[in-house]
Structures are given as C-alpha cells and as structure tokens.
C-alpha cells in the first residue's frame, strides 16, 4: 500500500507530530472469516491540535482508537501491520501491558455510552480517585480531594455531596462529564473521544463539545474526536480525516474539506445532511449499502456506490494524494478528484 504520510506534504512542519499512525492494518477473526477492519491507515496528530475522524459504522474509526490504546478484543482482533509512533516508541510492537502504562498518563480515552462505561457498583468518587491511587500511588484522602477538584472542573453541581453517589444516580450528560474528568485526571497529552456525544440529547451534545474545547484550551492537550456526525465536530476540530471501509479517503483542514470536498464519499456525506442553506431542497443519500469487510471490492472500496466510478477505480486502490488546485495539507484517495469535483 502506498500511503503517503500527510505530514510530508504538510505546509507547516511544527516539529515532529505527537502521534504518528503509519499504514496501520488491523484484522478481526470472526466465525465468518477474516475481516480487514483497518487497511493501511495513516495520520498524524500534533501537540495541541484537534483531529476529527469521521465515518459511518464499520468504517474503522473506533477500531483505530482501540488499536492505539491496545484495547482490541484480544481473542479476535490484532494489529497485523503498520506502526503507531508515540514519542518515538512504536506502540504496535510493544506488549500490551507496556502500552497500558501510557494509557491515562499520556493517551486517554472517553467512550461512547457513559452509562455502561462507568462501573455501576463503585461510587464515582472511587472511580475518579482510582487513577491517582493506583497509577500515582496517592493516599486515599488526597486522591479523593483531587477527584473532587476534577468534578468541579467539569461542571458537576454540588460536587461535595455527589462525589459519593453511584453512576446510575446521574443524568446522561453528567455521566459523560464524569467520564471526561476521569480521562483528563492524569493530564494526558492526547485525548481520544470515541463518539462522546452520540448517546446524548442534542442540547447536551453542545455542552459536552464546549467542555472539551475549554479543557483543551486550558491544558493544551491534543484531541482525536471520533464521530459520524459532521456537524458536531465542526466547531472544535481543526483537521478532519474521513474514513471508509478501513481506509482514510480524505483528510485536510476542516473548513476546506467541508467547503471543497476532494472525494466523492465526502461529497455524498455533505449532500446527505440537511443544512439551512439548502432548505427546501431534496436530500440526496448515498446509494448502495455499507461495505462488507469480509470481502472488500477490488480497487477503490467505494466504487460500488460512487457516482463517478470508472474502470481504473475498479482495478486499482487509490492512494492519498494532494489533488491539483486543493490546499497543500488537503489530500484525498481518489483517482478522479480533479475531474469530478470542482474546487471553486
């Protein structure tokens, strides 16, 4: 697979990236065969920046996060190629327990469903204090004091009383705040948020995204925001990577990508969501159905659904390249970008 690292073509090299995923390949062994969940994924995250990873279910976005944090289900999933470079260490080559040592202190994760992601039988004070007690060896009192601080920081009202409560006694939005608090407890340099707002109501979604943005501004940590919702990440992310069938099909600065998509899939996504400007216009869904990861089509994985497909698309997998006329850090994996999509 010839995947060109985005940063090589990047306009401004602000020093080495914090996290560099290169040609990552992940397979899942299932009863029905081997599924290629990630088929050569590469991207970089710089210190302090926010990357949004977007895609449908099954595109591989969550798998990417799991692979980075060594959370792939052990019996089924495994990294079969590529590397995950963090501070010069290749996480893909390290044994799991070593990677786990970096979890929470360097790279932390917030999960999608806060109800099932919090242990129902322990008080949230205990769960918040746990990183301090177990990873830093702090005493109980000190750790709980820190936990209280964290609770206040994420905006839980009445924190002194509520710290002794159990997860089921909080609302969905509050639970997500608690999850975020747990994740930033040890001041990680990178926070991965896997669909942090999907399980929440629309009004609460905005609050959570604002909270994340505020925390990032305070701590200077980098963020990877995983979502299927293009709108929700728009305010917080600087760069976006669109995933499809285990590959990154487009990546670039978020505003540029939304305004001038360089891949038919992105174009399709943008066309299929309602926006105020196009009121009254009919929505155009993407035809076809999601790809079968057990048997991907030859050539470009999107070709069965692409309105501009030609023979080359069916034969050869396109690699990420910067199309002519587009911004320097904006690239897409499509053979026909310039022909079928206009950069106005």
């Amino acid at each position: 697979m010839n995947q060109i690292r985005v940063s090589e073509k990047g306009s401004v090299a602000m020093g080495a990236p914090l996290l560099s995923v290169q040609n990552l390949q992940v397979e899942f062994r299932t009863a029905a065969g081997v599924a290629r969940a990630l088929d050569g994924v590469s991207f970089d995250v710089r210190a302090g920046e926010t990357l949004a990873v977007l895609g449908e279910s099954g595109s591989g976005k969550s798998v990417t996060a799991q692979a980075i944090m060594a959370l792939l289900p052990r019996a089924i999933g495994s990294i079969v190629g590529g590397s995950i470079l963090y501070h010069g260490i290749d996480l893909a080559q390290r044994p799991i327990h070593e990677v786990r040592k970096l979890c929470a202190t360097d790279i932390a994760m917030v999960f999608q469903d806060p109800l099932s992601s919090l242990n129902p039988v322990f008080r949230i004070g205990y769960q918040l204090a746990e990183p301090f007690r177990r990873r830093l060896g702090m005493g109980k009192k000190q750790a709980w004091a820190k936990a209280l601080e964290l609770l206040k920081r994420v905006g839980i009202p009445d924190a002194e009383t509520r710290i002794s409560d159990f997860p089921h006694q909080f609302s969905g939005g509050q639970r997500q705040r608690i999850m975020i608090a747990m994740a930033i407890a040890l001041e990680p340099k990178l926070l991965i948020a896997d669909e942090p707002t999907t399980a929440l109501d629309a009004t609460v979604q905005k609050q959570i995204m604002t909270l994340l943005a505020d925390l990032q501004a305070e701590t200077g940590m980098a963020m990877i925001l995983i979502s299927h919702d293009l709108g929700v990440v728009a305010q917080v992310a600087e760069r976006v990577a669109i995933m499809y069938a285990g590959r990154i099909v487009e990546s670039g600065p978020i505003r540029d990508t939304y305004d001038y998509p360089a891949h038919p899939y992105t174009r399709g996504l943008l066309d299929s969501i309602p926006n105020a400007a196009g009121m009254g216009r009919q929505l155009t869904p993407i035809t076809g159905s999601p790809p079968n990861l057990l048997s991907l089509p030859k050539g470009c994985a999107f070709n069965p659904r692409c309105p501009s497909v030609n023979d080359l698309c069916r034969a050869q997998v396109p690699s990420l390249r910067q199309p002519e006329g587009w911004a320097a850090s904006h690239s897409a994996a499509c053979h026909r970008t310039g022909e079928v999509l206009a950069h106005a």
Binding site: F28, T30, S62, F111, D194, P290, N292, L293
Partner: protein, 296 residues
Amino acid sequence: MSSVPTAIEAAKPSLPRARMRLSWRILGPLLVIGVLALGATFVPMLYGYDPLHTDLLMRLKPPGTIAPNGMMAVFGTDEVGSDLFAEMMAGTRVSLIVGVCTLVLAGGIGSLLGLLAGYYGDWFDTALMRIADIQLAFPSILLAILLVSVLGQGILNVIIVLSIANWVIFARVVRSQVLTLKNREYVQAARTLGAGDLHIIFRTILPGCIAPMLVIASVEFGYVVLAEASLSFLGVGAPFGTPSLGSTIATGTQYLATAWWISTIPGLLLLVLVLATGVLGDALRDHFDPSLRSAR
C-alpha cells in the same frame, strides 16, 4: 464500540460452514440417544430378559462370562442371574419412557399455563407465579419423594409426580418469552388485522416460544432421567418387578465387594445418557439464545 463485528453481521450471507460446525454438538448427542433408544427397545427382547426370572446358577457372574446357552454376559450378571446388559437396557427403556412422558406432560401443561399467564396477565398470572414460588421452595426431589410416598410406587405415578415437580420451569420460561413477544410489532399487527385472542396466542406468539421450549426440554430431560433413577434408588420409584437403572444400582450396593459391576456399569450408562442430553441442551441454547441460562 465493536462496530466492525456488527457491520460484518449485517453483511453476512448464510454460510453453510458455520451451520455445519454447530450441528455436531447437536447431532452427536442425538445419535447417542438414538442408539440407546434402539438398544433399550431391542436388547432386552434379544436376551429374553425377564425381571421376575431367577437363574441361581448364573448369579453374580463377572463381565465376560459365557452362559450355558452360549451367549456372553457382556457386563456380567446380577444377583438373580439376569444378564446385566439386558437389565440395563430394560432400565434405560423405563428411563426414556419416563423422560419423554414427563416432558410431554410437564412441558405441555407448563407451557400452556405460561402462555395464558403471560398473555392475560392479571390475577391469573399473579396466582400462578405465587403457586410457582411455593412449589419452588421445595427442592424438587423432596417434592417427588413426598408425592410418591403418598401416591405409592409405579411408573405412572413417577411420571405424574415428576411432571408436577417440573412444570414450573416450563411455565416460567414460556411466560417470560410471551411477555417479551407480546408487545412486538408483529403481534400488534395481527391484532389490528382482527385476530382474536386464541389465534394470537397459538398462531402468532406460540411459534416464537418453541425455541426456548426446546432448549428447556432438552435440559430438563436429563434432570428427569436422573430424578427417576434417584427415586428408584431410594426405593420410591419404579416398583419391584420393573427394572430401573436406579434400583439396579441400589441392589448392587449390597454386593459391592463381590460383584462391583452391578452398581458401577449401569451408572456409567446413566452418565452417558444424561451427558448427551446436557450437551444437546447447551448446543441448542447456544444456537437459539445464549441468554436462556436456567438457574437450576
């Protein structure tokens, strides 16, 4: 979070390979049970087994002895000279008959009650569940012993008693399945099309209950066979004159030092039979619905 396996499930075409792999866990036990059933039907006849016949010359002979008529006592003989193999198979016949009849009776009545309780709810449901609670307060063997001591011995009584002891689990499982299905859209749809209550219960909801019923039935079969054997062992099951694996083992305890095979080998057979039903039950459960773990 594991959206990849979900996407795979959604896209999966029906693969014969996956189906074949699980069918061995189902076919194997069925084969074993079938062979045992065949043996139970024909072997006693072939050996001319008669529980009331005594042949003192052939008493307590070890496995492998050749009888005067030239046939070999594969597993030896018992204390009245009968061939143990034939006796075991006759006992298996009783076990299988009791098992099947009890399942049909307990399963039929229990499932019916569960269907009605789940569908109509209200006082009937509450009453049924309270009765079930009381009954479940008795360890089932205890209830069986109590009933048999009152009703007297006999195969029919054993069937009745074990049915009474076991209807509850059918009722509970079917009832909970009905509660799950009752509000599904296809049931509502049938109602809006004008289907009457009976039609809905038996033609719409019942088919959805067959799977759990089968799972429970295969698990319960093993328990019923064991229960019959235990009752016979204690002397409150099969009456004198009717062979049963349990009573054979019981009589054998008096001859442990001299003829260990009388107690040991029928037990192995019992073990194989119950094991087969256990494996079958597990396989069926995994196939249909892993959440049907019965807390017995």
